[in-house]
Symmetry: C3
Subunit: 318 residues, 3 copies
């Protein structure tokens, strides 16, 4: 594995989940793999779960960990080639990346969509430069278009809680005051499409996800109808992807908020969200605090998904 | 031990001090206890000594350590339940706390009094939520009303330096340009009251501490009189506690500053302060630099008090 | 070794380089040296390479590492004695330094020139206080006047790439939009003067370096002439040192930028720079991306120079 961005990088999903459950039972059993190996975690954006869970996973595996918050205590980075650097940016990514690669064995990168250029975002411009220039294996800790450690943790959580062989899983858009990236719904859709679940997407018109991620998943524009009989309700806000609306907020309709009535339409369904979540925008206090809420177990599984992915990188090094 | 907030959580004080002196002689003797255990240190406020000493103590014990500065690189946290989260706060404490608890075995929290609500502060609203919702043992790294690792380090320092069985220890208020919390004087008073020392508090009228901490310690409003024959002078500023004056500065009288004349009233007394200290407000250059100043040994003992407390948590886990 | 600031602290240079190459071949061979030892890295200023490479070096040696960004999450520090501290600074260096020293075995300090006072900068006022008051060995991670870990890494890099016994090495000033410290050129000149290389300095009039660092190295004011036959071109901007011009920008002449024509004057010379570098100010894209650019191997050797220096400190402790 040279990189971890999507479901295609993890191989057989049944094997991956089985490995995750094994790691979860004994998370310190592979400490020899990380000996004298260093993970560098690079944050261009804020993080709580990813910061802690990935660090914990690497320590479980016996690695040394260095955390770099690019915007705190380092230098502002130029990302465009050919520029005369006479402004506020002291260093170019083309130097910074191979330098960072020099001091570690594995790199995790968080770099959100900037919504300045759809092409830049959807080419994963920042992350791809790390893959190309760092000389080290690279994984996404949520980048412009994907959040694969989250989607893998979501899959593990569903496997742990499903009550039927082929559960109905609904990804539903929900309202939010700010324009958010599509990374989480993209990855969730991509991973769900790779399972044999009954997977449905629901959102207002105009919020269609990129086809490379949404695939052939049915889209139901009536949220109530989509939720009928759902075993898992995965709520998430995202800004528009399509055409000139890229990065725009088209709807703030609070009737899409997941509340008790919405959940009553489901098959005693579980509520899921990647967190951080805005209460009473995305979901009501009542639903997120209910026994059917999986938001905490789902977050806890971030340690496990990260450990499996890092373990696989380490196995290829040794 | 599920929590460490006050003197009541440490058990017999003689045993605790004896254990501290043993740990101080051989601080790496208990490294096996922390193997595969992770401390999460969470800072809502600035820290120098606590940050370094607690991290050092945990590493002495063989633990992994993760440090989270909530206001740098993480998400702004909502603390009120029932709010529609459409503002600048992306995550609720009710999610963030159990998530943080998922990735560690022990949690230290720094969360100062905000002086917005006496009730919130004196109910230790933030810290108590960590105790209630994290699922892990929690200790105060200075919270709204207490700073027990400091008070324990102070006790160790007094025990190391006392020249009589029952020294006279004076806690004295001193002037400061900003409103400071009562956490340090509260804990110092609480711990001193649990000893058999001759303990006296002196401050201007209106600066009475909460009775749950001040207990039956005599209050002498004449500083000079209080200092007579003191073996240890513990200086500290705090804002008013009583009634409507909560959080207010009532006095900036520089005659309360500890200077050479004040120290000459003592029994060749030692000078103590928890640091950080404002020179020539709380204490003169001359006194803090004198051979009788214990501010550095006292700070160094923060590593020891933290190590004893963390060691006890670890012993209960294994 | 009580301190590491300059070439005089490293002893015989041939031995130091030989030790570096040995460490580079097996960077984990000395892990026993750092057991139960803690490095404290203190940053008053930004850092990327130094932050990562020094941390990596210490971990290679088995040390625990604590990183403190003084301006993030700690207290603002007063540096002047005798001040009534009623402003925004909560703590004095005279307390902070021995406290920091209490919690570690070795201290690295980054503290740039402030250009407020030539005397303060050139007396290394901040760093010298750490040496004097911390009670622990101290090394510069770039201080007001020197950057010895960089110069040592540069020396290692030249030794790895030189094609003649006595290469011609040219330190050349280059333009930059901001006033930069002289630490890097000072240390580079000092270390080159300690070798038997043919070392030449070139810069516009008025940019003469302090004689304590420039020594007897010839200064050639015609850059083209200086570059003739160079084996290594070390580019760097710095602000003026001399007299009343201290800290000022006297020249922004872009004809000093290192481009392909400049490099064509050399003996197929290598390009070097300490990074971060402003592209198309200091050096063109074409030169820095050419096969003769050593900026990345040079940065990678920062891990090695740091490991040798820390290793020597540790050897004296055990």
């Amino acid at each position: 594995m040279k990189k971890f961005l999507g479901v295609q990088d993890i191989g057989n999903l049944h094997d991956a989940v089985a490995e995750a459950l094994e790691v979860k039972r004994n998370r310190f059993a592979y400490k020899h793999l990380g000996q004298d190996k260093t993970l560098l975690m690079i944050f261009f954006n804020n993080s709580l779960r990813t910061r802690l869970s990935t660090q914990k996973a690497a320590m479980n595996l016996g690695m040394n960990v260095m955390v770099l918050d690019v915007n705190q205590g380092a230098w502002k980075l130029e990302t465009e080639r050919g520029v005369v650097m006479d402004g506020d940016k002291s260093e170019h990514l083309l130097e910074a990346i191979p330098v960072m690669g020099s001091f570690c064995d594995l790199i995790g990168v968080r770099s959100f969509a900037r919504y300045e250029s759809k092409e830049d975002d959807y080419s994963e411009k920042i992350l791809q430069q790390f893959i190309r220039y760092s000389g080290k294996p690279v994984f996404s800790m949520e980048s412009a278009t994907v959040h694969p450690l989250q989607a893998f943790a979501d899959l593990i959580t569903i496997e742990e809680h499903k009550r039927t062989q082929r559960p109905k899983v609904v990804l539903t858009w929900a309202p939010h005051p700010k324009a958010l990236p599509q990374a989480v719904p993209n990855s969730f859709a991509q991973w769900m499409n790779a399972t044999d679940y009954d997977f449905v997407i629901t959102h207002p018109h105009g919020y269609e996800l990129a086809s490379e991620f949404a695939g052939n998943a049915p889209v139901e524009y009536n949220q109530d109808k989509a939720l009928e009989g759902a075993d898992f309700v995965y709520a998430k806000n995202w800004a528009a992807y399509s055409g000139d609306n890229y990065g725009k907020i088209l709807c703030q309709d609070r009737s899409w908020t997941i509340d008790d009535r919405k959940m009553s339409l489901t098959n005693d369904g579980y509520f899921m969200h990647c967190l951080p979540v805005r209460r009473n925008m995305i979901v009501t206090d009542s639903v997120i605090e209910s026994p059917n809420s999986l938001v905490i177990p789902e977050a806890a599984n971030r340690e496990i998904s990260a450990e499996v992915v890092i373990k696989r990188f380490l196995e290829e090094m040794s």
